[in-house]
Amino acid sequence: MKPNKYMNPYLAGFLLGLVLLGTIYVTGRGLGASGAIKSVVVTSVVEVAPQHSANTPFIKSYHEEHPGGPLKDWLVWEVVGVVIGAFFSGVISNRVGIKLERGPNITNSTRIIAAIIGGALFGLGSQLGRGCTSGAALSGMAVMSFGGIITMIAIFGSGYAFAYFFRKLWLK
């Protein structure tokens, strides 16, 4: 079966906006993603190396501020929802399957390495920026947060600034 076409972007954006609005109305906070990864990572470190965590101030204070761990973390549950929602969407549009998407001129392993490096940079940057594209940029825009909007400008500005240097990863 051929995958279905993607939804009209404006319609999808409108629906996403309603999801965000509903979330703000009910919970008083926006959506996010990187915070869930943080919760899982910090808890794993604490579990695996308790001695080391006690000596690492950032992990120690985060762990103390979030005593419930990932199972009591709002963003972790939200990301579990993202997995379910995305999978469901993939199923109804015939897009589920093991795949690897890459630019035409690179190998699969280059793509995987680039994805890991990119992810690491994004993970690091999202800690500095106190949120990623969803938590800082999108949710910040909805509530007119100055910090959120400058983070958004910095993300996309830097994306454009570096795009030329990494064109081989993506273009012919």
Binding site: L16, R29, G85, S89, K99, I112, Q127, V143
Partner: protein
């Protein structure tokens, strides 16, 4: 009034809300094509602006909705989480994220979406993000200085630009629509696309633009909840007869002495005036603060009668009317001002020898009431200390 957490929906149930919100989030992201890395990076090479379209549409939809809810008074904007601004870490962090975006081809939310439908590159990106967070946690002392520099707190962009929220709303919406139009031109050029939008779709887009601006105009001209309440109060003040709910000081004193546990005495003056002198057992709810969430229970309950007073009769009446409009409790107004009450009960002067029996009775009553009130206040000192109600702060962000 929203946000519903934590007063209407508990913090535990909030996790279920998170799950539901996440399902909606993941579903729309995937439907929009955000699980495809090529579609995402298309933004940076000009061949596919889906990210900008979805992102900007979602942003202005939610922003206009938040403004509308705030104006209608169904969402308390002072309680929602505003991402705090730390200037340098926002800029540097954003720049690093942008670099990560162009190298990795995802952002955290979209990589989770991609991984969910089986994209291995998405999974690799999620794994990488974990490493990045770990690197930050390990190297935190190195980042600390920039992480905490220029902490401006939860400032809003419209404040920074010196405009009202609604003006910024108009501005951002206009920018979004211009960006949609221009990126379509760029997309067509880069992809050598000569096609034209079908007429029906053009009309559809135009009506969406019209709809967005119509909602903004409605928000701009609609009086907000507070000015609506204010005008209702002023109207009622001018037109209704409040004598039936006015209570003289002697009656209130009787109530205090006999039924102190069945009444709330509410001082609507400023905290300073309250501190200087207040009636026995009075609680201070300044007139301007009456609609705050923490006082809702007092204005809404049906077990106790509320008595309002101030120094000037007008303010006491306004406080009474506001309470009537905001809550369901039974309310009364004290006729006397707080200083009159003080004079009547604290600075008692004995009547002279040829006073009438009536005057003598009143004197005796007030004297007894004054001692009783003093005794009661003394006896209940600890239990009647005003309970400080804390409004819990909402946490957010990543």
């Amino acid at each position: 009034m929203g946000p519903l957490v934590p007063n209407i929906i508990s913090n535990e149930f909030n996790l279920i809300v998170a799950l539901i919100a996440g399902i909606g989030f993941g579903f729309t992201l995937e439907q929009a094509g955000f699980s495809s890395t090529k579609k995402l990076v298309g933004l940076f090479y000009g061949y596919d602006f889906t990210v900008l379209k979805v992102f900007f549409t979602a942003g202005i939809t939610a922003m206009i909705g938040v403004l509308l809810f705030g104006q209608m008074g169904i969402l308390d904007l002072s309680l929602i989480y505003i991402n705090p601004t730390f200037l340098w870490s926002a800029l540097v962090g954003g720049a690093i994220m942008g670099l990560g975006f162009i190298i990795g081809g995802f952002c955290p939310g979209t990589s989770v979406c991609a991984a969910s439908i089986g994209k291995l590159d998405g999974l690799a990106f999620v794994f990488g993000s974990g490493l990045g967070v770990l690197a930050f946690a390990q190297g935190y002392p190195m980042f600390e200085k920039i992480y905490l520099a220029e902490a401006w707190g939860p400032v809003l962009i419209n404040e920074k630009l010196g405009m009202s929220k609604i003006v910024f709303g108009f501005l951002l919406t206009a920018i979004a629509f211009i960006a949609f139009f221009l990126t379509r031109l760029i997309e067509k050029k880069v992809n050598n696309d000569q096609s034209k939008l079908p007429k029906r779709r053009v009309y559809g887009y135009l009506s969406a633009v019209g709809f967005a601006f119509a909602v903004l105009i409605i928000i701009a001209i609609m009086p907000d909840r507070y000015s609506r309440l204010e005008s209702r109060i002023n109207h009622a003040l001018a037109h209704s007869d409040l004598t039936t709910v006015e209570v003289p000081a002697d009656k209130l004193a009787t109530e205090i002495v006999n039924n102190y546990y069945r009444i709330n005495i509410i001082d609507v003056r400023s905290p300073e005036a309250f501190k200087a002198y207040h009636l026995p057992f009075a609680i201070n709810i300044p007139f301007d603060k009456m609609s705050d969430r923490q006082w809702k229970t007092i204005l809404d309950q049906k077990h106790k009668t509320n008595y309002f007073y101030a120094d000037d009769q007008q303010l006491a009446k306004k406080g009474y009317l506001k309470a009537e409009f905001l809550g369901k409790a039974e309310n009364y107004i004290l006729i006397e001002s707080s200083s009159d009450f003080k004079n009547l009960f604290s600075n008692l002067t004995p009547p002279d020898s040829n006073a009438s029996k009536n005057e003598l009775n009143t004197y005796n009553f007030r004297q007894k009431a004054a001692t009783d009130m003093k005794m009661l206040v003394e006896a209940l000192k600890n239990s009647t200390e005003p309970v400080i109600v804390k409004t819990s702060k909402i946490k957010g962000g990543c």
